[in-house]
């Protein structure tokens, strides 16, 4: 398997706050890798740094063998690294269809229609609401739209920041099912979650983040039965 993302010794600061401390990890093609950790552990900061919205003071981030540590966020997207941000951040004033078009911003016009049909197949609810503006969607529908929008870019690596946040249990299951399906269809996914149980059960590998440091790593199936993890994150 070839390496798709290689994060090497990054350090990220918010002013004087040292949020990410010497983090290194990698994702191989076809994997689901998850980063789990409590509130404020630095999960979103890590993803935002990979997408170029934040910068690391040290180290390097390689995507498909070329460094993206200094690449602008929009160019990173055109290389195929796409993020669904925390809190979804769909465009509330744009219609569902326009949101999806924005997701396909870097792609040739001729391919947009067929990608959109694929997204609608995955999320039939979005098709029903395609002329509605984003602000009128429910939380769950907004999450579907955020994921559909990212898929419109045909990502080589998709990063998801807490896709289950604030959703009813039934919808959480649906979202995780879809992530597992995407994985089966060959997508590479970097998943950030607080719902450790669900994340570990679909992940190939996992990293545990605590106050800006990686404290544990292993296969998803191993960590789920790890006593420390059970105690700290699985409420057992």
């Amino acid at each position: 398997m070839s390496r798709i993302l290689d994060v090497n010794e990054i350090n990220v600061f918010y002013g004087a706050i040292h949020a990410i401390k010497d983090i290194s990890f990698y994702v191989d093609e076809g994997e689901i890798v998850t980063l789990i950790g409590a509130n404020g552990a630095g999960k979103s900061t890590t993803l935002n740094t990979i997408s170029g919205l934040l910068r690391s003071k040290t180290g390097d981030i390689k995507f498909l063998d070329s460094s993206i540590a200094k690449t602008s966020p929009n160019k990173i997207v055109s290389q195929g690294l796409v993020m669904v941000p925390e809190g979804r951040r769909i465009f509330l004033g744009l219609t569902v269809e326009e949101n999806l078009e924005m997701g396909a911003y870097t792609r040739p016009k001729s391919e947009i229609r067929s990608s959109m049909e694929q997204v609608y197949e995955l999320f039939p609810r979005l098709k029903e609401r395609r002329t509605q503006i984003g602000g009128t969607l429910s939380g769950g529908e907004q999450q579907m739209l955020a994921m559909g929008r990212a898929l419109m870019a045909k990502p080589k690596l998709m990063m998801l920041d807490e896709p289950s946040m604030g959703l009813a249990p039934l919808l959480v299951d649906l979202i995780f099912e879809i992530i597992a399906d995407l994985h089966k269809a060959g997508s590479t996914i970097l998943l950030v979650e607080q719902n450790a149980q669900a994340a570990l059960s679909i992940a190939d590998r996992a990293y545990v983040l605590e106050t800006g440091k990686i404290v544990k790593t292993g296969r998803g199936s191993d960590l789920i039965s790890d006593p420390d993890i059970k105690k700290a994150y699985l409420g057992a």
Binding site: S51, V77, P85, G87, L92, L94, T106, G135, Q142, A153
Partner: protein, 293 residues
């Protein structure tokens, strides 16, 4: 006051209102995208007006060339100001940006005094003649101004709502970070917004000159403030709001003048602004949407 006089004043109001609306659009679009009240925007119009004046009065160029020149120079100036003065401050506090905009405005006004002279330049009317509609005499200038503005607004509506670049502009206005995550280039989109806003100001300058036939270094400041008020009245950041705000203020001024209170028309504008903001702080069409969790 007779009925036909009232209609004539209304048309006057719509004419001035068209210019306010065009300028207000630039204010509103720029505010929408980088949350900056671009106080240098009015001065772009002043520069545009001088371009028309010099092209026609000094170089005897055909009006079409003068108009293209005014729009071209305004656009270029607007984008240059953005690149030189505002882009380096993109992550600075909004207040620094606002103060910079005021500084740019001073620079343009004083620069204009230096380059063009402090006196007023007068020129022959660009458009002459009028037509009678029943008992109402309407100048061709008014007709051209109103029609041109309406066409421009329809075009703008199309660009913003139906083109890829326009949708990207709306996406950036709403959420810069999320827009970048779509692969949208901030630099390109913001510059395009300034270019469109400044081109509208250039068109505004031509229409202003058609109505008042005079250019002066400070002409942009009152016009800019009126357009700013129009943008706030309509709901800053909202494109249809800027249009409605512009026409409202133009008509209001004309009606106050028609009632015999010409001296009070500026005061009336601000009074209406205050009243509207008391009852609807976001202006006619401004709104805040809440994200659902």
């Amino acid at each position: 006051m007779t009925f036909s006089l009232l209609i004539a004043q209304l048309i006057n109001g719509l004419q001035t209102g068209s210019v306010y609306a065009l300028v207000a659009l630039g204010y509103s679009m720029v505010y929408g995208i980088i949350k900056l009240l671009n106080f240098a925007h009015g001065d772009i119009i002043m520069v545009g007006a001088y371009m028309v004046y010099y092209a026609i009065a000094s170089f005897a160029l055909p009006p079409v060339v003068a108009i293209i020149l005014a729009i071209g120079v305004s656009t270029l100036l607007g984008v240059t100001v953005e690149k030189v003065a505002y882009t380096p401050l993109r992550s600075a506090p909004r207040l620094s940006l606002l103060i910079t905009a005021i500084g740019v405005s001073f620079l343009l006004e004083n620069g204009a005094q230096l380059v063009f002279g402090a006196d007023q330049k007068s020129m022959d009317p660009l458009i002459t003649g009028s037509v009678m509609f029943g008992r109402v005499n309407v100048s061709y200038t008014a007709i051209v101004t109103i029609v041109v503005s309406l066409i421009i607004m329809v075009l703008l509506w199309f660009v913003v709502n139906k083109t890829k670049a326009g949708k990207a502009m709306r996406a950036v206005s709403e959420d810069m970070g999320a827009a970048q995550l779509m692969g949208i280039s901030l630099n390109r989109t913001i510059s395009m917004t300034f270019a469109i806003g400044s081109a509208l100001a250039g068109i505004g300058s031509v229409l202003y000159l058609a109505a008042y036939t005079q250019a002066s270094p400070t002409m942009g400041s009152m016009l800019g403030i009126k357009a700013f008020v129009a943008a706030v009245l309509g709901g800053i950041g909202s494109i249809p709001g800027a249009m409605i705000g512009g026409f409202t203020i133009g008509v209001l001024e004309a009606l106050v003048a028609a009632a015999g209170f010409s001296m009070w028309k500026d005061a009336a504008v601000f009074l209406v602004l205050i009243i509207v903001l008391l009852f609807k702080p976001t202006g006619f069409l401004g709104k805040k949407m809440q994200e659902k969790v």
